[in-house]
Structures are given as structure tokens and as C-alpha cells.
């Protein structure tokens, strides 16, 4: 069954992966999903067609999603109202009549993309639909059936969006829509305990959806911080567990009513199953423990807003002083020093952890930074033989860098043999990211002042190969 899937015009790269992940969660067997674009539309249009095996799945996806404005059963489409009429009349009566009966109520809404219609124009368009034999009563507050007339004009290239060649009109019956009421409830400004890198609510929910968080599942965040990602997973019913190397964050927070626990309590969500202080570089999991988490979701510290830390003092790691032995009488209450934890190492440990601790088909969802000025060269993402990369969604943060949400699915069980293959893959990755090994390099690439002489010479010759409109607004 084809459905018209209309998206919010935001986070463009995240939209289809969200629907794909949710389709899997709600038992869609047809995988990968089939997508189709309306005629003359480009990939960034809000209008897409998606094939799903039942209306129930379409409804479940829409309800749970953050970026789906609505899923519709398409009754007709065209480039003008005459074409729309023909198209709707050709749509089989057997599919229309059950929703037009006299004992039902209905509502027709007009939606436009890229233009606004006056009330009179809307009414005129609704009244032009009299050829559809509506028998039921109009109910604007709580109708049984919601119909949508959607219109998108032809347009010049605007805001960097490619031009639309032809006007397109759709008419359809709503099957489901996103519950974006979640967002104001969970927005960060109402959160009691916040850190500098707390994940905003919309993104956190998208991450939880990519991870297919659901009741009965255990979701782990190894860089939990204030718990902003786990809160969203808990909202979808998952059990949560988090770890952090900074004990002040996980244990103390800002007092008894302002800490990670209180962030869950605030929304009436069950507390995390566990919060731990540990180092992902030397994790304390017992040997033999494996395949326990259903998903691992995290935003690793990659040194732009916060840097990673690991056990062992900076000087020891650099080899400038001999290993330090803690005197016996100072062992209790000793605060171990930590050293920098490079992104490359951090990603290696994360993949290793996930390979071992995720159940089969479990998902690893994490952000990875990309410097945008590396034009031309294809970005290399970390790889692991246990994992298949299923979604890559870019969020542009500045002209210098963006972050990419990677979703990986565990397809191979972990074994020692695989570990060797993983090591080789990692060495190759490391080779490709040598400059990221050193502390502060990413930070300075992102924040370095622009060289003014460069602007003058480059402005003429250098054209940004990546579209700019995928900025923070979309």
C-alpha cells in the first residue's frame, strides 16, 4: 500500500531514516522501505510516498514519529484542480465510500507549502470538492475522518532549495500524525538539570527512534552526562542505564533535587536502572557478560564543546613521567587524574563495547563530527565487522562543521576472530584521522579565526560544494 508521507521541513536528513527505523519497530516486513517522489519533486520536498504493508503500521509510525507531519491515504493528485478531480474520481469507490457514510463526521483542512492562503481562498478550494459524495456531518473539533487538501506551487530556487517545476495538489485521508506536543513538554529550558552538552529534546527523541527504544528493552548511554538522551528513551518505555567518567555529573548534580535522577522524575518517568561512574576505555564489565543491551545511544565527547577524558594522568599517558603509584595511606578517597581521550580512541572503544554488549540486531546510534571544509574527499565513518551502517543523517552546525548521526545494526555476533578484523579496520580509520588524535585539533578547526587573506582569494574560486540551506533552520 502506498501512503503519502508529509514531513515537517526540518532536519531533512533525519526524516526518512526515522520512518525506516519506526517501520521496523512496528513490524513492517518489507525492508528496505520503498520510497517514491511525486513528479518533479526533489529529495528535500516535504512530500514523499512510502510503501507500507498496512494502515495500522502507517498510523503507528506517524504517531510515534517526530518529523512526520502526517501519513495519508492518497485519494488523488494533479497539477491543477481539474486533474485532481479526475484523479479522485478514478480512485475506487470501495476505498472512498466507507469514509463518507452518513453516520460519520469529517473535516477538510487545507495545507500549503511555501505560500499562505486566505480564509476565503481556503473555503473556495474546499467547496470545489463537492464532486466527492460526502454524506456525513462536518465536525471541526473531533471528526471521525480528517481529509487534507495540500498544495505546493511551482517555485524558483529559493533558500537554496532546488526549483519545483510544476504545481502539485494532493487530496488524502489522514491516517496518523506526529505527536509534537512531546517537544514543548521536554524542551531543555524546562529541564531542571542541564549541562553544556545536553541533547535538545527533538534530537534526543530522533535518536531514541533510531534506536527503536521501546518497553522491555534496555538502552545504554556510556556518556550519559545529565541524561538528556536517556530521558527520551525512557519516554518511549525503555529501561535505561548510563555511565560517565565525571562523578560530579552522575552522582552529585546540583543538589538533591537537581540531578540526573530528578530529570526523570520531572516527567514521571522511571529512574534509570543504573548510573555508574566508569571509564569507557577500561570498562568494568565482568568477563562473559555480553549481548545485554538492546541499544546504545550516545553523543560521544569529540572535543568541540566538551573533550573526552580517560583514566591515567596526562603526563603518564605522554610518557613524560614514570607511572605514579598511589601511596597506601592515601588510597581511600584518592581522586585519580585523567588524561585526554581522543575521538579516534573513543570511537574504537564505543564500537568494541557495542559489538560485545548489544544483542543481535541491536542498534548503536551515535553522533560523529565532520569537518565540512574537507571538500572533495569522501568522509570515512568508523566501521566494525559486527555492524552494518543503516542510516547517516547530517545536521549542519556551522560553515565549518556538522555532526552526523550514525545508526548501525549488529549483524554479526562478537567473537575473537572478529575482534582481529575490527582491529585492522580501526587501524585504517586511525590512519585516515591522524590529525584528530591530538587533543584540541578538532576544536581549533571549528573555532579558528578565518584567515582574511584567504577570504579574498577564495571567494572567487571556491564555491561551497555542499548546500547551505541545510542549516540550523531545516
Amino acid at each position: 500500500m502506498w501512503f503519502l508521507c508529509v514531513f515537517y521541513h526540518r532536519l531533512l536528513d533525519f526524516r526518512k531514516p526515522e520512518v525506516e527505523a519506526l517501520a521496523e519497530l512496528f513490524g513492517e516486513e518489507d525492508s528496505p522501505l520503498q520510497w517514491r517522489l511525486p513528479e518533479h519533486h526533489h529529495n528535500d520536498t516535504p512530500f514523499h510516498f512510502v510503501q507500507l504493508s498496512s494502515e495500522e503500521i502507517a498510523q503507528n509510525i506517524a504517531k510515534r514519529s517526530i518529523l512526520v507531519k502526517g501519513m495519508y491515504e492518497l485519494w488523488g493528485e494533479g497539477t491543477c484542480y481539474e486533474e485532481l478531480k479526475d484523479s479522485i474520481e478514478r480512485f475506487p469507490d470501495s476505498r472512498k465510500l466507507p469514509f463518507l457514510t452518513s453516520d460519520s463526521t469529517f473535516k477538510i483542512s487545507v495545507e500549503t507549502f511555501g505560500k499562505a492562503l486566505t480564509f476565503d481562498e481556503q473555503r473556495e478550494r474546499i467547496h470545489s470538492l463537492t464532486y466527492i459524495p460526502f454524506e456525513g456531518k462536518v465536525n471541526l473539533k473531533k471528526p471521525d475522518h480528517n481529509f487534507f487538501l495540500m498544495e505546493m506551487d511551482e517555485s524558483e530556487e529559493s533558500n537554496g532549495l532546488p526549483p519545483i517545476v510544476q504545481r502539485r495538489i494532493f487530496f488524502g485521508r489522514e491516517v496518523g500524525f506526529a505527536d509534537r506536543k512531546l517537544l514543548p513538554t521536554f524542551q531543555l529550558k524546562s529541564r531542571t538539570y542541564l549541562g553544556p552538552t545536553a541533547m535538545d529534546a527533538e534530537m534526543a527523541f530522533l535518536m531514541a527512534n533510531q534506536a527503536k527504544a521501546a518497553s522491555g528493552k534496555l538502552v545504554y548511554d556510556p556518556f550519559v552526562g545529565t541524561g538528556s538522551i536517556l530521558v527520551s528513551a525512557a519516554r518511549f518505555g525503555a529501561m535505561t542505564m548510563g555511565a560517565d567518567i565525571d562523578i560530579r555529573v552522575v552522582r552529585d548534580g546540583r543538589g538533591p533535587d537537581c540531578n540526573v535522577w530528578s530529570n526523570f522524575k520531572q516527567y514521571g518517568l522511571p529512574s534509570p536502572v543504573a548510573l555508574l561512574r566508569m571509564d569507557n576505555n577500561v570498562p568494568p564489565w565482568r568477563s562473559g557478560l555480553k549481548e545485554i543491551f538492546d541499544a546504545i545511544i550516545c553523543d560521544p565527547p569529540y572535543g568541540v564543546r566538551a573533550g573526552g577524558r580517560k583514566s591515567g594522568g596526562r603526563k603518564i599517558l605522554r610518557g613524560t613521567v614514570d607511572p605514579y603509584t598511589v601511596p597506601e595511606d592515601k588510597r581511600t578517597g584518592h581522586i585519580p587524574s585523567t588524561g585526554a581521550y581522543s575521538l579516534v580512541e573513543c570511537v574504537h572503544d564505543l564500537l568494541h563495547l557495542a559489538a560485545r554488549m548489544l544483542v543481535m540486531k541491536g542498534r548503536l546510534v551515535f553522533f560523529f563530527p565532520v569537518l565540512r571544509d574537507e571538500s572533495g574527499s569522501e568522509v570515512k565513518f568508523p566501521e566494525h565487522p559486527c555492524f552494518k551502517l543503516v542510516a547517516v543523517s547530517e545536521q549542519i552546525l556551522s560553515s565549518r562543521y556538522s555532526r552526523v548521526l550514525l545508526t548501525m545494526v549488529k549483524v554479526e555476533p562478537y567473537s575473537e576472530k572478529i575482534e582481529e578484523a575490527a582491529r585492522l579496520m580501526h587501524l585504517e580509520f586511525r590512519e585516515n584521522h591522524l590529525k584528530w588524535l591530538e587533543e584540541g585539533n578538532i576544536h581549533s578547526s571549528v573555532f579558528k579565526p578565518t584567515d582574511s587573506s584567504q577570504i579574498h582569494t577564495e571567494a572567487k574560486t571556491f564555491k561551497d560544494p555542499k548546500p547551505k540551506y541545510r542549516g540550523k533552520y531545516v
Partner: protein
């Protein structure tokens, strides 16, 4: 810290081979009611080191768990008596203050405000 966590952790000081299970030194144990989720418990049951859980529960003052790990049939049966006990042991008993002690070296990992501090000292990595 709940016992589900205890069941997952070991002492990972360099060179330690028998860092599991960590002995519990309980100073303050509290109980909190948690929603019963059979699916989650069934999923977890397969991953649990049973003997370690029984001992840990006892150290926390809960002795209702059977000595030997029950059959999978017990887990799947309609009678939820066992699952309820497992639920209580895994999720409802918290070690609020105390320590986890490495069985091999005696190193104490402190537990404050319910958070186990598993970070190693410089000379233990």
C-alpha cells in the same frame, strides 16, 4: 545501585583475573517500588550470573531467591511468583551507601548516593 548492576560489574584492575563477583559491604540499603515488567525480566534472566545474584541479595538482606537457578520453564510459566521475586531482587533493592570489594585484591569501590565509582587509580590501569 541495584543488584542487576552488581551482576554486571567486576574489578578490572590490570592483572586481576577473578574480579567477579564483587563482595557487597552494605551501609545503607533502601527499597523502591518499580513497575513490574515481565518481558524485561525474561530478557535479563538469561544474562544473570545466578550464584552471584543470590549471594548479593543475601548481603542486602533478601533471602527469598532459590539457591539454584530455576529452569527456563519456571520463567515462562503463568505463575509469576518467581518473576516477582526476581523483580524485587534485581530492581527494587538499592545499595545507597557502601562499597564493592574486589574478591582478589580487596580493593574497595565506593558506592555513594547509589552510584558505584568504578574508576581506577593511575597505577591500576
Amino acid at each position: 545501585m541495584r543488584l542487576i548492576t552488581h551482576n554486571m560489574l567486576s574489578c578490572n584492575i590490570k592483572g586481576v583475573t577473578n574480579g567477579f563477583p564483587l563482595k557487597i559491604e552494605a551501609e545503607k540499603v533502601i527499597e523502591k517500588e518499580v513497575d513490574f515488567n515481565p518481558d524485561f525480566l525474561k530478557h535479563m534472566f538469561a544474562k544473570i550470573e545466578w550464584k552471584a545474584l543470590v549471594e548479593a541479595a543475601r548481603a542486602m538482606g533478601y533471602g527469598e531467591l532459590p539457591e539454584d537457578s530455576p529452569d527456563v520453564a519456571v520463567i515462562e510459566s503463568a505463575d509469576e511468583t518467581f518473576l516477582k521475586k526476581l523483580h524485587h531482587a534485581l530492581l527494587e533493592i538499592h545499595l545507597e551507601e557502601g562499597a564493592l570489594v574486589c574478591p582478589e585484591t580487596g580493593r574497595k569501590f565506593p558506592v555513594n548516593k547509589g552510584i558505584p565509582n568504578m574508576l581506577l587509580h593511575e597505577d591500576e590501569v
